[in-house]
Amino acid sequence: MGFGGGGSAGMTAHVHNNVPLQGGPLDFANDTIASLSAGSVTYSDGAALQELVKPAVPAGEVLTFPAAATAPSWQAAGGVSLTQHVVNLGSSFSSSSSSFVDITGLTLTASGNSGAIWTTVNLVWEQNGTGTFSYQFMDAGSAVGGFQSVYHDIVDEPSSNSASYLTTPATQIIKIQGKADSGNTFTIHASAASTWSTLQALEIG
C-alpha cells in the first residue's frame, strides 16, 4: 500500500504485517525499493538494517561469518587449489656413472608457494648388464624420499619403475637422479607411445 495517506495527521505508526489497517507485508519480490546498490545484501546489526555491498570485482568470494565477527562479509573462497606439473622425458638419457647424476630432462620447477607437493616419477629404463640401478628425487638441491634401487636381470630389455613422495616445505626445483650400481650403463627412455618416462607433481595450495 502507499504511504501517502490523505489526512492532515500524516501517516500513523504502523507495522508491516497482516493485521488489518497495518502496513501489510513488504513485497520483497521485485517490488519494494530501498537505497541499496545492485548486488548487495542486507543484514541487521541489531538496531537497523545494514548493507553489505558486493565485491568490487567478484572473483568467487563467498559470504562468510568469521569467528568473533559481528557482521557477515565476503571472503575468498576456501578449499584447496591444485597446480599440476607434467614433464615427459623428451630425449633418452644414458650414463655409466656409479654415483648419482642428474637425468637430463627430468626437472620441473614448482612455485614454492604451496603447502605440499605430491611428486611421482615413472621411468622406463634398461641397462647393459645385470645388477641394480638406483634413482632418487632431488628437492631444492638435496636428496629426499622416493629413493629406489631396483634389480635388473634381463639385459637390454626395458623395465618400468615408479616412485612417489610427499613434501611439505616450500619446494622450487625437483629433479630425478640415477646411477648404475653394478658397473653397467643405464638408459632412461624418452617418453613415446610405448614408453612413459615422466615426472609429475601436484602442488596442493
Binding site: S92, F93, S94, S96, S97, V101, G105, A180, T187
Partner: protein, 91 residues
C-alpha cells in the same frame, strides 16, 4: 676433469649408441675406464636427435666422483672410483 660436447648425431637405440660411444672414448683415451667395478671416469649422453649432449669425466682423485650440475662441478665421495692417470681426455 671433464668435457662437454654437443654433436650432431641421430640414434635409434640409445643403448647401442651409449655402448658405441664408450668404446670410442676408451680407445681414444688410453687407460680410461668408464664402466665396471672400479671406473676412473664416466660418460653421460642425452640422446636428442641431431643434438646429442655428451659429458665425459675422468676423475682427478681416488674415491672422489665428479659430476656437473648447472655447469658447477660436484664432487662426492665414492669408494668405487679411481683416479685417471692418463693423458688429458680428448673427444
Amino acid at each position: 676433469m671433464h668435457i662437454k660436447r654437443v654433436i650432431q648425431k641421430r640414434c635409434l637405440n640409445p643403448l647401442v649408441c651409449m655402448d658405441d660411444m664408450i668404446k670410442v672414448m676408451e680407445e681414444k683415451n688410453v687407460g680410461l675406464i668408464l664402466t665396471g667395478a672400479t671406473p676412473n671416469g664416466h660418460l653421460s649422453i642425452s640422446h636428442e636427435q641431431d643434438s646429442h649432449i655428451i659429458w665425459l669425466f675422468a676423475y682427478d682423485h681416488d674415491k672422489k666422483h665428479e659430476s656437473v650440475i648447472n655447469d658447477k662441478l660436484i664432487i662426492t665421495h665414492s669408494d668405487k672410483v679411481k683416479k685417471y692417470d692418463g693423458l688429458p681426455i680428448t673427444q
